[in-house]
């Protein structure tokens, strides 16, 4: 007879509100491989911690969104939001699928140009576009989304100097029912500021109004907000056509779709709370049905998604360094990836799973990173199975913002790999080494 597998002897006190043995941990399936490539092999090849991106997931998310849009609206465009993840390989996957680029800085613009993106396939957003930047991007045919009157004036000066009539969009902000307004970007719609900006732009007669743009906010879990936003933009487009004879080339509804992550202040987990793409798309196109124009003159619907396309495709593999018992009885798990690597752990309760089979009584556990800092909590209390030193765990839905907002702090940033669709895998950013960090440093000669 075979003996039962050993697990550490443990004891859990029954406490009010915590007397339920059927938690997430019981339903947890170990994630032993990603797209058919074993996590173990990946870590042995590239080290730990390790970011892993699934090419199949990236493509599937993009095509799902694209196809749903195409079913409901004739002219559509998805502009890949660089700031969520601008690694070349990630951008390349989306551009290969036909995505435009949405950039918010000259650095991101440089990255897009370096990849050979047609400058007319770039939407340039953000509150800072210097006159020098405008001198460069406007003649190239890039569409800028004007954020404020000072920028409009700068764009007009550039147009005059260069003798061009560049295409631009005007960014507006607005109030919708279930989302607190982001009034700091663009011109306010309800107060009449947006119409005033557009009238000024038309009267100035130096810029070509190609589109209107609104980005409601971020991680919006209520699709109805998009219906309202799209309807308001449609009404704006109707007014522009009837009062100024302007036919817009595009209506840009921004991004802000939620990924399947769970915000810290969210009760239901993202896998349930996050609406499907089809619900967002349905809401958007219902709102756009308010457009009153000849079908041939329909403006293109532009989306600027990032998080919702890339987040679910990213994984962070980390290795257990130590187990400890906290004073309050919870188990502490120290792992080799901290908040410097997983920046989004400040916002989300990330879904964490074991990378190997497990058993035993799951216990309330806190997952700590390796930094010598109290804030280095990768995942606050969750019920998690017992882990041994050297075991691996996988943090899910980490594809957005981490490999752009991570910090180089007291250690090297880890490698990033992509798993291809036929079991291939390869580096898309190697682990940093000393020279990457000290390279830009100088020591003045008086020292």
């Amino acid at each position: 007879m075979t003996k039962p597998l050993y697990e550490r002897p443990t004891l859990v006190r029954h406490q009010m509100g915590m007397m339920n043995k059927f938690g997430r941990a019981q339903a947890m399936q170990p994630l032993e491989s990603i797209d058919g490539v074993s996590v173990d092999e990946l870590v042995k090849t590239y080290g730990s911690p390790l970011f892993v991106f699934s090419e199949a997931d990236l493509v599937a998310r993009y095509r799902e969104l694209h196809d749903l849009l195409a079913l409901r609206y004739r002219k559509i465009r998805i502009a890949w939001s660089y700031k969520t993840n601008y690694l070349d390989a990630i951008c390349k996957v989306f551009h290969r699928e036909g995505a435009y680029a949405e950039v918010v800085s000259e650095f991101e613009y440089d990255k897009a140009m370096r990849m050979g993106i047609d400058p007319t396939h770039v939407h340039f957003n953000g509150p800072l576009k210097s006159e020098a930047t405008l001198e460069r991007v406007l003649p190239a045919g890039t569409v800028i989304h004007i954020d404020h009157f000072d920028e409009m004036a700068a764009a007009e000066r550039v147009a005059e100097r260069q003798g061009i009539r560049p295409k631009v969009a005007v960014r507006v902000n607005m109030a919708v029912e279930s989302v607190p307004p982001w009034s700091r970007f663009g011109f306010n719609l309800e107060s009449g500021q947006a119409m005033e900006a557009i009238r000024r732009l038309i009267a100035g007669d130096k810029l070509e109004l190609a589109g209107v743009h609104c980005h409601l906010g971020t991680f919006i879990t209520d699709p109805a907000a998009y219906k309202q936003a799209a309807a308001k933009l449609a009404h704006l487009a109707n007014t522009l056509r009837s009062e100024h004879g302007v036919l817009l080339e595009f209506i840009d509804v921004g991004g802000g779709f939620a990924s399947h992550n769970t915000l810290k202040a969210q009760y239901l987990p993202g896998e349930q709370a996050t609406p499907s793409f089809s619900r967002y798309v349905e809401a958007l196109t219902e709102g756009l049905s308010q457009l009153d124009c000849d079908p041939r003159d329909l403006p293109t619907l532009v989306l600027e998604n990032g998080r919702a396309l890339v987040d679910d495709a990213g994984y962070l593999v980390s290795t257990v360094v130590a187990n400890k018992r906290l004073r309050d009885g919870r188990r502490g798990l120290v792992v080799d990836a901290g908040v410097n690597t997983l920046f989004t752990s400040f916002w989300y309760n990330h879904d964490v799973v074991s990378a190997q089979p497990f058993r035993g009584i799951p216990e309330p556990t806190v997952i700590y990173g390796p930094l010598c800092m109290n804030i280095d909590v990768v995942r606050d209390t969750l019920v998690f199975p017992a882990m041994s030193v050297g075991d691996r765990l996988v943090l899910k839905n980490v594809g957005a913002y981490n490999v752009t907002q991570w910090m180089q702090f007291i250690t090297y940033r880890p490698a990033v790999v992509m798993v291809g669709r036929d079991g291939k895998h390869g580096l898309i950013r190697r682990r940093e080494q000393l020279e990457d960090i000290v390279g830009p440093e100088e020591v003045p000669d008086w020292l």
Partner: protein, 357 residues
């Protein structure tokens, strides 16, 4: 002719001083003369009082919290169904309704019926959309603002007059008299139920609550309005009386006609001092006091069980006006072995008198 007995699973056994509706629903089911099936209680904590109501619940299973995710929940539900097959499930807690809506197709393949709104409808009745709901159903609603940042509360000065209410995404409401109270209430709500939080203008008057069931096609299966007569210090109704007012019935009908709501709900409204009715909130499930509907002769939980089993239910009109409920607290005596069974195995089974199997 009597239809085959149904085994009915019911959630919300947390019959505490702020009770979940499960015990009320089960008592209503058992009160129906045609009831002869089993009741499976689905609980979230080993000390949910309804678990130990031995004359009400035949089998009890602990469930993972909905916040643990769909996979954990559906795995456990299938496991429970494997142990005690049930025909119908009546979820009764706001926070679990989205989960049951998501699982509806999966439950159907297991042969489990439910009678719930769509996710779109569920969202529409969320507190953030109250104004929109009022608009499409042509019902007055108090001014409502969605708050996602405590600073938004400071900007309400002049837009919403104190005192107003700060409400949680799922449950909870606190009356606040100044910005400090409002911010404190905001943080309490976020800690418990997450964002968004709703700030809602107060309407002075008499609160009226209606327990009602919509047929999903715009019709109303039945409704019993109730006026609270005794409140706990938490503002929960501890006694109430069934009333009849054509205007309230008309408003309820308008709500169902405009939304095509499917399933049970509680419509909370306020009759202001000047006499108009204002819609305050739609709760997407039975209220804890729903046993009054059975007591007054319009057994709405039974109707939902029939509808969930795919049986027809004719619209109901009659109930006894003036029937009251007066709640009571009582101490149940429980053996340690029952508690052990729930805490250690996550289930508890009883043979009910007259149970042949």
């Amino acid at each position: 002719m009597t239809a085959a007995p149904l085994t009915i699973a019911v959630t919300g056994l947390n019959a505490t001083d702020n009770p979940g509706p499960g015990v009320g629903v089960i008592r209503a089911l058992r009160a129906h003369p045609d009831f002869q099936g089993r009741i499976v209680g689905l609980a979230y904590d080993s000390l949910d009082p309804g678990i130990y109501a031995h004359d009400l619940v035949d089998d009890v299973f602990l469930m993972p919290y909905p916040s643990q995710g769909l996979a954990a929940f559906s795995t456990r539900l299938a496991e429970v169904h494997g142990r005690v097959p049930f025909d119908v499930v009546i979820p009764t807690l706001d926070a679990e309704i989205p989960t049951f809506i998501d699982l509806e197709p999966q439950l159907r393949t297991l042969g489990i019926g439910s009678f719930l709104p769509s996710q779109e409808l569920f969202d529409l009745r969320s507190k953030a959309h109250l104004a929109h709901l009022g608009e499409i159903a042509n019902i007055n609603t108090p001014a409502t603002r969605v708050i996602a940042d405590p600073n938004d509360l400071r900007q309400l000065e002049g837009k919403l007059e104190y005192p107003f209410w700060v409400k949680g995404a799922y449950y909870g409401a606190t009356e606040v008299h100044d910005v400090h109270e409002a911010i404190a209430a905001y943080h309490q709500m976020v800690a418990k139920w997450g964002v968004p939080v709703i700030a809602q203008a107060g309407v002075d008057g008499d609160e009226i609550d209606v327990v009602a069931v919509g047929d999903g096609e715009g019709g109303m299966v039945g409704a019993v309005p109730m006026r609270k007569r005794l409140l706990t210090d938490k503002g929960k109704g501890w006694a109430g009386i069934a009333i009849r007012d054509p205007e309230i019935e008309e408003l309820s009908r308008r709500y169902f006609a405009a939304t095509k709501w499917r399933g049970p709900c509680e419509i909370e409204m306020m009759r202001s001092q000047s006499g108009e009715l204002h819609l305050l909130e739609i709760n997407p499930r039975f209220p804890a006091w729903c046993y009054l509907s059975a007591g007054a002769g319009m057994n709405l939980p039974w109707a939902v069980a029939q509808l969930a089993a795919g049986r027809d239910v004719a619209p109901m009109h009659e109930y006894e006006v003036g029937k009251m409920f007066v709640r009571i607290s009582l101490d149940q005596i429980v053996s340690l072995s029952d508690f052990e069974s729930i805490a250690a195995t996550g289930e508890l089974h009883r043979c009910t008198p007259g149970d042949a199997s």
